[in-house]
Symmetry: C2
Subunit: 418 residues, 2 copies
Amino acid sequence: MRMAVDGSGGLAGRARVEDALAWIDAHAPPLGREEVPVADAAGRVLCEDVLAEADLPPFDRAAVDGIAVRADETVGASTYNPLLLRLAAGGAGDLAAGTAVRVCAGDPLPRGADAVVPLDHVEAGEEGACAVIEPAVGGNEVERAGSLGARGSILLAAMRQLRPGDIGALAAAGRARVAVVGRPRVRCVLSGAVAEAGTPPAPGAVHDGNGPMLRSLIERDGGVGAELRRVERKREALRAALEPPGVDIVLVAGGTGRGGNDHAAAALAEAGELAIDGVALRPGATAGIGRTKAGVPVLLLPGTPAACLCAYELIAGRAIRRLGGRNPALPLVSRTMTAARKIVSEIGVTEVVPVRCANRAEVEPMPSFAAAGLRAVTEADGFVVVPEGSEGYQRGAMVTVYLYDDRAASSEPAHARS
Amino acid sequence: MRMAVDGSGGLAGRARVEDALAWIDAHAPPLGREEVPVADAAGRVLCEDVLAEADLPPFDRAAVDGIAVRADETVGASTYNPLLLRLAAGGAGDLAAGTAVRVCAGDPLPRGADAVVPLDHVEAGEEGACAVIEPAVGGNEVERAGSLGARGSILLAAMRQLRPGDIGALAAAGRARVAVVGRPRVRCVLSGAVAEAGTPPAPGAVHDGNGPMLRSLIERDGGVGAELRRVERKREALRAALEPPGVDIVLVAGGTGRGGNDHAAAALAEAGELAIDGVALRPGATAGIGRTKAGVPVLLLPGTPAACLCAYELIAGRAIRRLGGRNPALPLVSRTMTAARKIVSEIGVTEVVPVRCANRAEVEPMPSFAAAGLRAVTEADGFVVVPEGSEGYQRGAMVTVYLYDDRAASSEPAHARS
């Protein structure tokens, strides 16, 4: 076992979190394009602008069921002053003065009509007539030609992460496929002896929490097929696992640090470049970053589960989101809340402090990840990141909180089994 | 075509949104349990408490690489006053006074030790000795036996929606499988003629945006296998489509309303019960709710895409989240922001108003969904829900905004292709 010999008594030799993020931003560009069916594209990121291929809709059409009218003929209509209109047959002709045409939502407006009066504002009149009881202004309940997009206009811009409504808009525009940024293919290398789930661990082995945890984080961030590869805690085995074909990024969990059985950093240095060896982050100080000779980014994460999680959230996840073209910021809700108790941190270290919502406006720090491990993760509502230049926050200070579930602090009462 | 004859001139005959939600809460209880591998359980909802089967961890262990010490022997240590300790061999024996034992993260603490000094705070001494340069307090960098969960204690409570960290905690605790609420199996019935994507629509047909949009919404809300079933716009066809075997909930898009070709409500009434026919919601007023004779909830959604989306978000989505045991609240981030312009709404109607973030603190209303259709959805950063008792908000009022992407209003600069 090698002992620390720098004598710095701290984290002076370690990179700052912002240096780690800058390295990622420089070395994890969006992957190449692929075409996917629109119906499967939710959450994917457009790699080019999507233009409207025609006016959308191609004609002025009714937005609701009702009667198509000339808006100026409805002025003054009310329940006390129902305005009578003749019901004309629909079709290609113009709407004659004093007439209306029944339309269903989506029907083209007859020429001359400029508004639709919804059925709620229409009373049945005598045969062949009806009465309008609310005035309509021009354009009322009309979906204008080109209002969803004039031909050639940008429907959705490059780098947009597609939401459900976007999928609806693309499909409604007749698009069958879209070009999106590829999904990063991730290998997770798990170092060390692991006990089978559902059985008691042998001495020296532990149940692995990191593999399943990383896989769900990677899926959240748009990665695909997170392959879990368990390897012996030896340098040669680790090094061999770092150069898989057909993978866009490698995460290594465990074997970081300076213990006698920690070989991840040395293996990465041999496999290519160890750009960052240790980060001034707590928990997560043994994280490392580099790349293989082929240029594949490799992120080294501590084996301790809570530290692994924090190093993923603060550092590694950004690389996966960047490769997939997503917004690189942490995909958790951030809220400005009041510290209900003092939050202490060591200067020179970026510290991740688990917190619990005391109420909708206040958070209080919990026992640290170092002390409480994953229990802090399961019991916390979120965390506060104290930057390296800060010693923490006084009681009453406003702090930025990242929440695991926004609705923990929302107004809707906590849900209960009905 | 049947004309409205109630003469109410408005939405008086329609249910309130809160009545629709109350119906859902009463008729969409969580589905039965199923067992799934922990590694596949992210996002699923526990249907029973998960207890720790043993103390976790089973012994006090080192949280980091370092030396195990008696904390009281490190008092006063500093770079100016390094405290020398003899390095003893690890093992089962007690830690003798004046000695330390090298430990790797995860190693059990030797008896008598109560803290771990991380390697950063240790200098190499002469052969067989080392020097501590920072004091440690008792418990420092020690993961206590049972700190993740005492045997028999609740690790995670029933109805918890599992986060990545929870997956890590369950796997680290040796759990292989967990019992979760089933995922709702959804059928989407799409009524009306539909043009093939990638080809121009025939007269009278449109490209369907609702099917793909609903499928991505249903997946977001935990539903599974959203089957898209296209049926003719006829009552018999609709009715037959409402009673599929092996489905937990049916959504119908289109054929609502009072047009001559709108048969969804009548079909549902025949198939079982039409509990709510029309909701005082804009857009989305033609939404309906009921259930089949077998008790399967059926949600009727307008065919106009923007109205379909709003009725899903405000009403139908809640049913899917409830069936899956999730928090029923809308899974979008809500923020209190300032209205940069007046927001107008009709009293008596719950109105969904698309908004754009003017900056981090302010939103402004956009052209309505009725006017702008799905364009409002793609261009909006989110929406404001004006309750039925309100006529809207004055400029400068504080409003609750539901955001499609929280980071639209976050401090990190918008991401750009690197």
